[in-house]
C-alpha cells in the first residue's frame, strides 16, 4: 500500500484586482499562509509543485522569495487544471515515498486580461500561405466557428442532452443567478454583489447565450496547499490532525478518443471518466457529496457537469437544477463559493482554490457561507485540451 495523502494547510488569497502585487507576491502570500495554516515552514517541505500560465514564473523563482532549501519544483501547465496538476505532482512525490511533505502553488495575474478569445487575427497576409496541419491561410477564429471560450462553452451547453430545448438562455442565466447569489457570502470573491436574473440577462452579450456576468471573471489570485503523508501526519499535533483534510481521491485525466471531440471540445467524456474513477477510489458516491465545487467557467458548463459528475440522473441536469438542489440550501450545494463567474478565475490558481473552498467547509471554517456538517466534498476542474482533475476530500476522523 502506498501512502494516503492529506492536506495539512491550505490558503486562497482574496481574488480580484491586486494591482499592488506582482505574480510572486501573490504566490508568496498564498504559500506563506498555507505553511502557517499547516504549522510548518519551508524547512519541512521536500517538494514543490508550481503553476503559473501567464507570468513566466517558476517554483524556483518563488523559492527565492520564501525559502531556498534545494527542493525540486515541478512547474506544470495543464490549462485550467494547472493548479490541481501541481498538487498531483506533490501527491505523487509523497505517495512514491520520495517525500513526506510538500507544497503546491498556483498563481495568476489576469485582471483586465479581456476576453479569452483566440489570438488577434491581425491584418491579412500579403500572400495567402497555407500553414499548419490544416493548411489554414488565415486565423480561423470567426471563419470556421469560434475559438473564443464563451462561444465554445455556449455551444457545449446548447448541445446538452441532445439539444434539449430547455437548455436555453434563461436557464443558463438562472444558473449564474445562483453563482452571483452565493458569492455575496464569500469575502474572498472578486465580485460579491448579488445580481438579478434581469440584470444578468440584460448584461452585454458576449456569445449567446452567455452575457458578461455568465462568463468566468478574469482576476488576480493565488492558492497553495501543503500536503503530508498519513504516517507523517500521525506524528504531528492533535490539532494538526484534526484540521487536516483527507484526499480520498485525486484523478487527472485527458480526453479519450471520441469522434466528435476531434473537431469540437468534449468536456464531458473526460469529466465523466475522471469522476467515475474518483468515486471508485474514494469509495463514496455522488449522493454522499455535501458540497461540490465544479468548473463553471461559463454558466452553460455548470449544467453539463451536473450530469458528468453524476450529481443527477443521466440526462436530468435541467430538472436537477430546477429542483433547487444546487443552491446552498439544496440537496447538493454546488459552487457555494460563487464559482468562477463571481469568485473569479485566475487560471492556474483555480485548481487549488476550489480545493481550498471544499476543505474550508470540511474544517467547519467557512464562516457565514459554511455548509453545516459537511463531511465529504468534491472539487472539479477542466481545462480545454483537455485535462480534468477530480478530487474528493473528506473531513478528518483522526
Amino acid at each position: 500500500m502506498t501512502e494516503n495523502v492529506w492536506i495539512l494547510g491550505i490558503h486562497m488569497t482574496p481574488f480580484g484586482k491586486r494591482a499592488d502585487k506582482d505574480v510572486l507576491d501573490l504566490a508568496a502570500e498564498a504559500a506563506l499562509a498555507a505553511l502557517k495554516d499547516a504549522g510548518v515552514t519551508m524547512r519541512d517541505m521536500q517538494v514543490m509543485g508550481y503553476g503559473n500560465l501567464r507570468g513566466q514564473t517558476s517554483g524556483q523563482s518563488l523559492q527565492k522569495q520564501i525559502g531556498q532549501t534545494g527542493i525540486p519544483s515541478y512547474n506544470v501547465s495543464n490549462a485550467c487544471a494547472t493548479g490541481s496538476t501541481a498538487m498531483r505532482a506533490v501527491m505523487m512525490s509523497i505517495k512514491s515515498g520520495e517525500s513526506d511533505m510538500g507544497i503546491a502553488v498556483g498563481v495568476e495575474k489576469l485582471y483586465g486580461a479581456g476576453l479569452l478569445t483566440g489570438n488577434d487575427v491581425g491584418s491579412g497576409p500579403e500572400t495567402w500561405t497555407p500553414k499548419g496541419r490544416n493548411g489554414a491561410i488565415k486565423n480561423l477564429d470567426g471563419y470556421i466557428g469560434t475559438s473564443g471560450m464563451a462561444g465554445l462553452f455556449a455551444q457545449i451547453g446548447m448541445a446538452y442532452n441532445n439539444s434539449d430545448p430547455r437548455a436555453n438562455f434563461e436557464l443558463f442565466a438562472r444558473i449564474s443567478e445562483k453563482s452571483h447569489s452565493h458569492s455575496t457570502l464569500n469575502p474572498n470573491a472578486a465580485y460579491q454583489n448579488k445580481m438579478s436574473l434581469e440584470q444578468i440577462m440584460n448584461d452585454p452579450m458576449i456569445a449567446y447565450p452567455h452575457t458578461r456576468s455568465m462568463c468566468s471573471a478574469n482576476c488576480d489570485g493565488a492558492a497553495a496547499a501543503v500536503l503530508v503523508s498519513e504516517s507523517k501526519l500521525r506524528t504531528l499535533s492533535l490539532e494538526q490532525q484534526r484540521r487536516a483534510v483527507k484526499i480520498s481521491a485525486s484523478v487527472l485525466a485527458s480526453d479519450p478518443w471520441t469522434e466528435a471531440a476531434q473537431e469540437f471540445p468534449d468536456v464531458s467524456t473526460v469529466t465523466r471518466n475522471a469522476a467515475i474513477k474518483a468515486y471508485e477510489l474514494a469509495g463514496v458516491g455522488p449522493q454522499d457529496m455535501n458540497l461540490v465545487e465544479l468548473h463553471d467557467c461559463f454558466a452553460a458548463a455548470e449544467l453539463v457537469h451536473y450530469d458528468n459528475l453524476q450529481l443527477c440522473e443521466p440526462g436530468g441536469a435541467i430538472d436537477f437544477f430546477n429542483s433547487g438542489a444546487t443552491w446552498r440550501d439544496g440537496k447538493t450545494p454546488v459552487n457555494v463559493s460563487g464559482g468562477l463567474q463571481s469568485k473569479g478565475h485566475p487560471i492556474a490558481a483555480t485548481g487549488i482554490a476550489n480545493i481550498w473552498e471544499v476543505a474550508t467547509h470540511l474544517r467547519n471554517e467557512a464562516g457565514p457561507r459554511q455548509i453545516e456538517g459537511a463531511k465529504v466534498g468534491m472539487a472539479h476542474v477542466i481545462g480545454l485540451g483537455s485535462s480534468c482533475t477530480v478530487h474528493i476530500l473528506e473531513k478528518s476522523s483522526l
Partner: protein, 128 residues
C-alpha cells in the same frame, strides 16, 4: 486558381470537405495526423464528407478577438456522422432564426484576393 481557407476544403468538382479516414478502424479526422488517435494505425485514406447536415448546437458571437467581424453564428454540424465546425451563413445570426436540429448545406464564399490576385475561398453552412 482560388485557394481554400483550409486544406480539407476541396473546391472541385463541387465544394466539399475531405476527411482523413483511418484504414484500420475507419475513424475520421480533419487535417494531417501522425497516427490514428483511436487505434494508433499509421495509414489514412481521404473520404468525402456529405455537404448537408444537421445543426447540433450553435452560439452567436458578439465579442471576439480584434479584427473578427461580429456578430456571427458559430456552429457544430453533424454531416452524415462526421462532426464539423463551421459558421451558419446566409441568414441573420439570430437565435430566433437559427435553431438546433435545422438542416444545413455547405456553401462557399470569397474571402477576397491577396496581393497577387489569388482569391481565397471560405465555407459555411446555410439553412436548407
Amino acid at each position: 486558381m482560388p485557394i481554400p481557407i483550409v486544406n480539407y476544403l476541396a473546391l472541385e468538382p463541387q465544394p466539399h470537405l475531405v476527411a482523413q479516414q483511418c484504414t484500420a478502424c475507419k475513424a475520421k479526422v480533419f487535417g494531417r495526423h501522425n497516427a490514428c488517435p483511436n487505434c494508433f494505425a499509421l495509414d489514412f485514406t481521404e473520404v468525402d464528407v456529405p455537404t448537408t447536415g444537421v445543426l447540433k448546437t450553435f452560439t452567436i458571437v458578439h465579442h471576439d478577438a480584434k479584427g473578427v467581424p461580429v456578430p456571427y453564428c458559430a456552429a457544430v454540424i453533424d454531416c452524415g456522422g462526421m462532426t464539423v465546425m463551421g459558421n451558419i451563413i446566409g441568414v441573420d445570426p439570430d437565435p430566433e432564426i437559427i435553431t438546433r436540429g435545422m438542416e444545413v448545406q455547405l456553401k462557399t464564399y470569397s474571402l477576397g484576393n491577396d496581393a497577387e490576385g489569388v482569391e481565397a475561398i471560405g465555407f459555411g453552412f446555410e439553412p436548407v
